[in-house]
C-alpha cells in the first residue's frame, strides 16, 4: 500500500506545483458552464427573416411569431440572404409579398417558409390546434451534451495520469520506479486511483452544472466507481504507447474519437448496428450514463451497462498488463 500512496503523493505534488490541478479541475467546469449558458439559445432557435422596411408593420409583427426578424432597406435584403446562415428574405412587390430564398435551403425548411407565407397572406383557418406537453423536463441536446461533458471529464482524468507516465518515460524517471519494490499491479493501482478520483470529482461538478440536482447522484457515483478501471485503462494506453509528448498527443488523437465519438455515433445509427460496439467498454459506459441522463427509456439497463463497463475494462487491463509491465520496464 505504501508504494501506491507514495506515487499518488508524488503525482499530486507535481500537479499542484505546475498549477495543473487547477486547470484539470476548473477548465472542464468552465466549459460546462459555458455550454449550459449556450444551450437555451440553440433550443430557442426559430426561423430567420430579413424583411424590407417597406413591408407593413402588421406582417413584421406576424413574422415575429415564427422566429427572428431583421428589418432593413430593400437593397440590403439580398446581401443578408447571401450570408452563410439560412435566412429568408421578404420584400413587397406591387401589392403582394415576395419570399426570397437562395435555393440551397433544406427542402423541409423551404416547405415551412412557404407555409408561413401562406399563413400570413391567407386569412381563412382550416383547423383548431392545441399543444400539450407530457411535462418532462427534458432537452435532448442538453442530455447529449451532459454525457459528452461527463465523458470528457473522465477522459481528462485518464489523460493527465497518462501524461505523468509519459513524462516519467521521457525523463527516464520510470527507471527508478522499475528498480524500486513497486510491482506493475501497484503501479496500475496508483495511477488508476488518482485518475479516478480527479475524473470523478470533475464529473460530479460537471453534472451539477449541466443537469442540476434533478438526477440520481447515487447512480452516478456507482457508474463512476465502476468506470474506474476504464479510466485506468485509458491512462495506461496513453502511458504505455508513447515515450514522449508528441507520441502521447498522437495516441490521444486516436483515442478521443474512439472513446467519445464511437459511442455517440451509435446514438445516430440504426439499432441494428449496436452489436458492432459491444467490445468497447466505453460503449457500455455511455449506455450506463445514458440510463441516468436520458429521460426516455433505454434499451440497456443501468446495472447491466455499468457492470459490463467494469468487467470489460478489467478484462482489457488483465489482458494487457504483461505488455504494459514490459513497456514500462516494471516487475
Amino acid at each position: 500500500m505504501k508504494p501506491i500512496l507514495n506515487l499518488i503523493r508524488q503525482d499530486i505534488t507535481t500537479a499542484l506545483r505546475d498549477n495543473l490541478m487547477v486547470y484539470m479541475l476548473l477548465a472542464p467546469l468552465l466549459i460546462a458552464l459555458g455550454m449550459k449558458i449556450f444551450i437555451p439559445s440553440v433550443e430557442m432557435t426559430g426561423l430567420s427573416f430579413a424583411v424590407a422596411d417597406t413591408v407593413s408593420p402588421q406582417v413584421v409583427e406576424r413574422l415575429h411569431e415564427y422566429g427572428a426578424v431583421e428589418v432593413m432597406k430593400e437593397a440590403e435584403v439580398q446581401k443578408r440572404i447571401e450570408k452563410i446562415d439560412t435566412v429568408a428574405g421578404i420584400i413587397e412587390k406591387g401589392d403582394s409579398l415576395t419570399l426570397i430564398l437562395e435555393g440551397n435551403e433544406l427542402p423541409k425548411l423551404i416547405e415551412i417558409y412557404r407555409g408561413v407565407m401562406e399563413e400570413i397572406t391567407f386569412d381563412q383557418r382550416f383547423t383548431e390546434i392545441t399543444h400539450r406537453s407530457l411535462g418532462k423536463e427534458a432537452s435532448m441536446l442538453s442530455e447529449i451534451l451532459t454525457i459528452v461533458m461527463l465523458m470528457m471529464a473522465l477522459m481528462i482524468g485518464s489523460i493527465v495520469s497518462g501524461f505523468n507516465i509519459v513524462g516519467e518515460r521521457d525523463t527516464k524517471a520510470i527507471n527508478s520506479i522499475a528498480v524500486s519494490p513497486m510491482t506493475t499491479t501497484q503501479f496500475v493501482f496508483a495511477r488508476g486511483i488518482l485518475a479516478s478520483i480527479v475524473a470523478g470529482a470533475v464529473a460530479i461538478g460537471t453534472s451539477l452544472i449541466m443537469a442540476g440536482t434533478g438526477v440520481d447522484y447515487t447512480r452516478l457515483i456507482i457508474v463512476l466507481l465502476l468506470s474506474s478501471l476504464m479510466t485506468t485503462l485509458l491512462a495506461l494506453i496513453v502511458g504505455a504507447s508513447a515515450t514522449n509528448q508528441i507520441g502521447a498527443i498522437a495516441i490521444i488523437k486516436l483515442l478521443t474519437p474512439m472513446y467519445m465519438g464511437l459511442p455517440m455515433l451509435t446514438f445516430f445509427l440504426p439499432e441494428k448496428f449496436g452489436y458492432l460496439f459491444y467490445w468497447l467498454p466505453n460503449y457500455w459506459q455511455f449506455k450506463a450514463l445514458g440510463s441516468i441522463y436520458f429521460t426516455h427509456p433505454q434499451s440497456i439497463g443501468f446495472w447491466s451497462a455499468s457492470i459490463i463497463t467494469f468487467a470489460l475494462s478489467g478484462f482489457y487491463i488483465i489482458a494487457f498488463s504483461r505488455y504494459i509491465g514490459k513497456k514500462l520496464n516494471l516487475r
Partner: protein, 346 residues
C-alpha cells in the same frame, strides 16, 4: 532562407513520423472511411417521428396519410398509444385528429415543453395539409423567388466529410505545433535554435509546412476515398492549405503561454471544442450567433460544403476573409513566438 527552411522542415517531418503519428493517421483515416461508407445511412433521417391517431369515425385522414406514403408503424390505435410512443421517444410528436375533414381539430403531444416558434412551425405544416385536402390553393397570395436553382439533395453519408475535414484534418497543426514546441523546450533544442542564425519566421514556417503537407495528404486521401473524382480538388487543396496554415499559427499562439503538454491540454481541448461550435449551425441552419460565426471553422465548413456540393454560391469572399485571418494570425504568432519563445529566460 529557403535552404534553412527546408532543412528544418525535413527535421520536423521526421520527428512527426517517428512518433506514431503516421500510424495514428492511417487508423483514423480507415475509421472515418468505414464510418462514412458503411455506418452512416444514405438517406437523411427525419429529425423525429410523428405518431398519428385518427380519432374520427370515418378514419378518412388516416387513409389519406397511408395512401400518401406514411408508414403504418406511425399510425396508432388510441390516444394512450400515442402518449406512450411520445413518452418513449424524445424527438417525437404525437398528433391526434378529431372531428371531420371539414371541421378538423388536432391535439399535438410533446414529451417536453417546446418553444413557441416550434409550435407555430408544426401548426403551419398541419394548416397546409388541411388546406390542400380542402382543395384550397393558398399560394396565390405571395410570390416566391429563388436566387439560384434549387440545390439537389445531398447523400446523408457524404455530409459528414466537410465536418471531418474541418474538425479532424485542419486541427492537426493546432495540436501538434504546440506539442513540438513543448518537446523542444523540454529537450532544450529551442535553446540551441535561439543561438543559431535561423530566424523566428523560419521556425514558425517549417512547423507550419509540416502540417500543411500532412493535412494535404490526409485530407485529400479522405476526400478521394469517399467521393472519388467528383469534386474540385484544386479548391479543396487550397482550403486545406489555408486552413492548416491558420490552425498551425493559432496553435503556436496558444502554446507560447504554456510550459508543457499537461498544462496546455485542458485549455487546448476547450478551445478545440469551441472551434467545433459551428456544428450547431450545421444542425440548426438558422442558428448563427456572433460567437459561432466568428470561429474560422464556420466559414471553412461552408467553403468545404459549397465546394463538394455546389449550389452556385460564391466562395471567393470567404476565401479572401480566410486569407486575411491567416495573415493577421501570422503577425500575432510571429510577435508572440519571437517575444516569448525566442528570448532567453522562457
Amino acid at each position: 532562407m529557403t535552404k534553412g527552411l527546408m532543412n528544418l522542415f525535413k527535421k520536423d517531418l521526421v520527428i512527426a513520423f517517428r512518433n506514431a503519428l503516421f500510424w495514428v493517421l492511417i487508423v483514423t483515416l480507415i475509421l472515418m472511411i468505414v464510418t462514412i461508407k458503411f455506418l452512416i445511412p444514405d438517406t437523411q433521417e427525419e429529425e423525429g417521428y410523428r405518431y398519428f391517431y385518427d380519432k374520427s369515425e370515418s378514419k378518412l385522414l388516416e387513409r389519406i396519410l397511408v395512401q400518401s406514403g406514411l408508414e403504418e408503424k406511425y399510425i396508432l390505435k388510441s390516444s394512450e398509444e400515442v402518449e406512450a410512443a411520445v413518452e418513449d421517444s424524445p424527438q417525437s410528436v404525437g398528433i391526434i385528429f378529431e372531428g371531420s375533414i371539414e371541421k378538423p381539430r388536432f391535439a399535438i403531444l410533446h414529451q417536453q415543453e417546446v418553444n413557441a416558434y416550434q409550435k407555430k412551425m408544426i401548426d403551419v405544416s398541419i394548416e397546409g395539409l388541411m388546406a390542400s385536402l380542402a382543395g384550397v390553393d393558398r399560394s396565390r397570395g405571395y410570390e416566391i423567388q429563388y436566387l439560384r436553382p434549387i440545390a439537389e439533395p445531398v447523400s446523408g453519408k457524404l455530409t459528414a466529410i466537410p465536418s471531418l475535414l474541418a474538425f479532424e484534418v485542419l486541427i492537426l497543426g493546432f495540436m501538434f505545433v504546440a506539442v513540438f514546441m513543448f518537446q523542444e523546450k523540454e529537450e532544450g533544442s529551442i535553446r540551441a535554435y535561439r543561438i543559431s542564425p535561423s530566424s523566428t519566421a523560419i521556425y514558425i514556417l517549417s512547423k507550419t509546412l509540416v502540417f500543411v503537407v500532412i493535412g494535404l495528404v490526409y485530407g485529400l486521401s479522405l476526400v478521394m476515398l469517399t467521393m472519388g473524382f467528383t469534386v474540385n480538388y484544386l479548391i479543396i487543396g487550397l482550403i486545406i492549405v489555408l486552413g492548416s496554415i491558420l490552425y498551425s499559427f493559432l496553435g503556436a499562439i496558444v502554446a507560447v503561454f504554456f510550459n508543457n503538454i499537461s498544462e496546455w491540454f485542458v485549455i487546448g481541448t476547450g478551445l478545440l471544442m469551441l472551434n467545433m461550435s459551428p456544428v450547431l449551425s450545421h444542425l440548426y441552419p438558422t442558428f448563427s450567433p456572433r460567437i459561432v460565426t466568428m470561429m474560422p471553422s464556420y466559414s471553412i465548413l461552408f467553403i468545404f460544403n459549397e465546394t463538394m456540393f455546389p449550389t452556385g454560391k460564391s466562395i471567393t469572399p470567404w476565401i479572401i476573409s480566410l486569407s486575411i485571418m491567416t495573415a493577421i494570425a501570422y503577425i500575432i504568432c510571429y510577435m508572440l513566438v519571437d517575444r516569448k519563445l525566442m528570448k532567453e529566460g522562457h
